[in-house]
Homo-oligomer: 142 residues x 2
Amino acid sequence: MQPRLSFITLGVADLERSKRFYTRVLGWKPMHDEAAIVMFLLNGMVLSLFVQEALMDDAQVKNDGRGARFTLAQCLRSPEEVDALFARLLKHKVTITKMPKKVFWGGYSGYFADPDGHLWEIAHNPFLRMDAEGNVLGMSDV
Amino acid sequence: MQPRLSFITLGVADLERSKRFYTRVLGWKPMHDEAAIVMFLLNGMVLSLFVQEALMDDAQVKNDGRGARFTLAQCLRSPEEVDALFARLLKHKVTITKMPKKVFWGGYSGYFADPDGHLWEIAHNPFLRMDAEGNVLGMSDV
């Protein structure tokens, strides 16, 4: 797996409140802003705000009061690369919370947990524009 | 505040166990590896593994069972820039968990919390090498 981060997603209780904070207090401009998710393009990666319950649901982890307050994500260039990485993770008996599958937003995505339960999403996102090194440049119009 | 991420630090229960996972299973090579912290250089930013208790202590947050499982950090180019940002945060009545001060590793650092309690460290790290856009290139020999 390349040492590369495409997204960090913060689970939030109130998306409007968080959006106000990041836009008005920190002064950031959203790259993508819709009902359920707000994204900011940072240096070669994206910081997303996503409703906490939806984030846990997406990663298929339980709401035990401490789970999935954030996720990290690495985007790969094809569904086949996602499958190949999960094959490797399975060999190493890594905890997989969601085997890769087609997801509602048009991508292909799965999740694994590191030894402390920190969640990594490995995804193919056909709308994401990346440079040759994998830095995120933006999103295509969906 | 620039839309830019310098570090993400994951709080871990057992540093050796986490290091084994990230090096052997994911195949990453540490950029910096010492008793208390392990750092991996990703695309323009650093992912650090840091003992959970030490992370909470550094951010001056309480151990309530759900606090500070990770922190985000943005490094600025001088202690004065750190102070200027905190002055702005104070005006906006942002929750500050640690006012900027000199810290043991030779830097100058403070922490604030976003509306969900996600912690941001704002620091000047004299050992960090960044390009003109603020992408992290590595660490000087300490």
